[in-house]
């Protein structure tokens, strides 16, 4: 029986449970004379109560079971006499078992490894046995839940309250999914990074100035990430911000202080739409238009070391990409400054631009700073534009016309193409990912704190 069929069946049972719970409650309402106390919950809620008890325990069991049963099946197969002849090498063994599983479930028709054929039958038996066990237990749970909850229905049973609680728990579970997934990601990053740091000391990685990972070479001198950090900072925190902060701020000032309602009503959404343009589109623009143009400019100016993949090309375009983020954060913070501040300043005979410079911006500064930090965090983690336009060479240079590389670019490079999971070269990608994660996390925390404190101060 396939998983989908079981789930559908459970929902079918749930529907029956709902109908019978509701019918039961309606009946209870009828048998007692109308003069008695009004029932606590309407019949639907009794229906929902029974239905939830029918479906949820069984579903919960099934999800746990589906995680456990493959392992149990493998255990069963290994216990089979046919598995006795398997080679000892862990890696080969798991390859054979994996193949046998795919044969048994019909995902592939022909095994590459002759030994896997012998395991197909035991695998099939084990899988079907465990899936039958799972279905039976799930059904038992469904019926037990239904029966138990059904017996609890009474005229004054508070089904509505119970259902409300379940709804609340479901919502809570939904909101935890993202957080738990993030934890999972962090742990896997951490785990792989630790394996990397077994091979390359943390200090060599964080403070080394030479980056050129080669397959099969674990020399710590090749894993100095400083050039990547520098490239990331140069593009994301320096060049992009030089573009995005003034333009974003001026946009926000125009929108909040000068733009007539009519202009604002189309300009603001238009700018916000820009935030939704896929970064790969900006990447094209950076790589095909801005990069070559800057290169010709540098050549014309006689600047040495210019490349068409340059920090400047990537940074400028990234700055443009980030403008909507900065301007909408700045817009929010300026709008959050009470209009009494503005009126107070205007009433003293300050001009609008004096008011903006001397009252509004200083008052909105913490919020603007928070927005800038969020923007930096976004820029530092941005991948597509730099992959397409910043180049690959790990140069430690201050010349914005030359090619640099960033953390994200190197992660992409290390994780694509030929890769062996055990090599320091591949594991380095996880270490870089971890650094990136920690840095952006801190930036976000600090930024959100600042923004929050700022909001509070005007409430």
């Amino acid at each position: 029986m396939s998983g989908l069929a079981i789930v559908l069946m459970l929902f079918g049972l749930g529907l029956i449970a709902w109908l019978s719970g509701r019918a039961r409650a309606a009946q209870l309402e009828r048998v007692t004379p109308a003069a008695a106390v009004r029932p606590h919950s309407r019949p639907q809620y009794h229906g929902w109560y029974v239905a939830l008890w029918t479906i949820l325990p069984a579903l919960a069991f099934l999800s746990v079971w589906s995680a456990l049963s493959p392992g149990l099946a493998v255990q069963a197969v290994l216990a089979d006499p046919a598995a006795a002849s398997l080679p000892d090498n862990e890696f080969v063994r798991s390859a054979i078992i994996g193949e046998a599983r795919q044969l048994a479930t019909g995902q592939i028709a022909q095994g590459f490894n002759p030994q896997s054929a012998a395991l197909v039958e035991p695998f099939r038996t084990a899988i079907s046995r465990y899936s039958t066990i799972g279905v039976v237990i799930a059904l038992i749970l469904a019926f037990a839940g239904a029966a138990w909850s059904f017996t609890r229905l009474k005229r004054d049973f508070r089904a509505r309250t119970r259902v409300e609680r379940v709804v609340m728990l479901l919502l809570l579970a939904a909101s935890l999914v993202a957080i738990l997934t993030t934890f999972g990601i962090v742990f896997s990053l951490l785990f792989e990074s630790i394996r990397f740091f077994d091979r390359v000391p943390v200090t060599d990685f964080l403070f080394g100035t030479h980056w050129s990972p080669v397959s099969g070479n674990e020399d710590p001198d090749l894993f100095g990430a400083i050039p990547l950090f520098w490239g990331t900072i140069l593009i994301g925190a320096v060049i992009a911000m030089i573009v995005a902060i003034p333009l974003g701020l001026m946009t926000a000032i125009y929108l909040t202080q000068y733009a007539p309602a009519r202009v604002r009503s189309w300009l603001k959404p238009t700018i916000e739409v820009l935030a939704g343009v896929p970064t790969v589109v900006y990447g094209f623009f950076a790589a095909l238009t801005v990069g070559p143009a800057l290169r010709s400019l540098a050549d014309a100016l006689g600047i040495a070391g210019a490349s068409s993949d340059s920090a400047l090309a990537a940074g400028l375009v990234m700055g443009i990409m980030i403008i909507p983020l900065v301007s909408s954060m700045a817009d929010d913070s300026i709008a959050a400054v009470p209009s009494a501040m503005r009126d107070g300043s205007l009433a003293l005979g300050a001009t609008p631009s004096e008011t903006i410079r001397k009252v509004l911006i200083p008052a909105a500064l913490p919020g603007v700073m928070g927005g800038v930090l969020l923007a930096v965090s976004r820029a530092v983690g941005e991948t597509m534009i730099v992959v397409m336009a910043a180049g690959q060479s790990a140069n430690l240079t201050g010349n914005p016309f030359s090619s640099v590389t960033t953390v994200t670019v190197q992660i992409v490079k290390l994780m694509t193409g030929d890769q062996e999971f055990e090599s320091a070269k591949t594991l380095a990608a996880f270490a870089l990912g971890l650094v990136l994660f920690i840095v952006t996390l801190m930036l976000n925390i600090v930024a959100l704190r600042i923004v929050k404190r700022f909001r509070e101060s005007y409430e």
Partner: protein, 258 residues
Amino acid sequence: MTTEPNTAPKMTARGVNVFYGDKQAIDDVSIDVYRDHVTAFIGPSGCGKSTFLRTLNRMNDTVAGARVTGDIRLDGEDIYAPEMDVVQLRARVGMVFQKPNPFPKSIFDNVAYGPKIHGLATSKSELEGIVESALTRAGLWGEVKDRLQDSGTALSGGQQQRLCIARAIAVDPETVLMDEPCSALDPIATAKIEELIHELRGRYAIVIVTHNMQQAARVSQRTAFFHLGKIVEYGATTDIFTNPREERTKDYITGRYG
């Protein structure tokens, strides 16, 4: 104290109308404001007191959709004339708002703000002098002289309001408009502000909007009663409160209105 002014009016308004979009908020209002007299605007909520007050320093310009017609003069100068510099006008006609609104800057910088933008001081010591004298006139100097660098927003509500008054008088205006300056304050802070208004009288023409009849009677020499966008009655405060000509005025000040 005379009940009839013997000087030329500081500000005159003739046939003033204010519209918010299509809605008329002020309807043909004419009034004279004198330098030596505190003028109080009273009237039920929504009758247009704040709206009219804001026409006197053109703060209505900052309200989208607001339109003012009629003739308003400051010392005989048409303040709605095209050649009028609004920024200069607001330096001459200061304003104190209903809710204290100090800038999130130090006490010193709050008061120094106006003088700085208008270039009233040529040196740091001159600026300090202006700040000190404004704070002194606002009755706040003694309380804050040791903490001028503290944030203005850290003061109590009453102190904040006096700071805002100090801020307004630091640019040496000719007229000070106050829109319910005490409505957010407790009785003690209110009494301080009223005392301050007494002291400032004669130096600046003062117009105060208030919902508090006793306050109007205590601080003002002239009172205008607004109703539905019009002035129902305007005259010496003593007359308005003891011997109103209009039935509506009488109902309002005796609390029988509405």
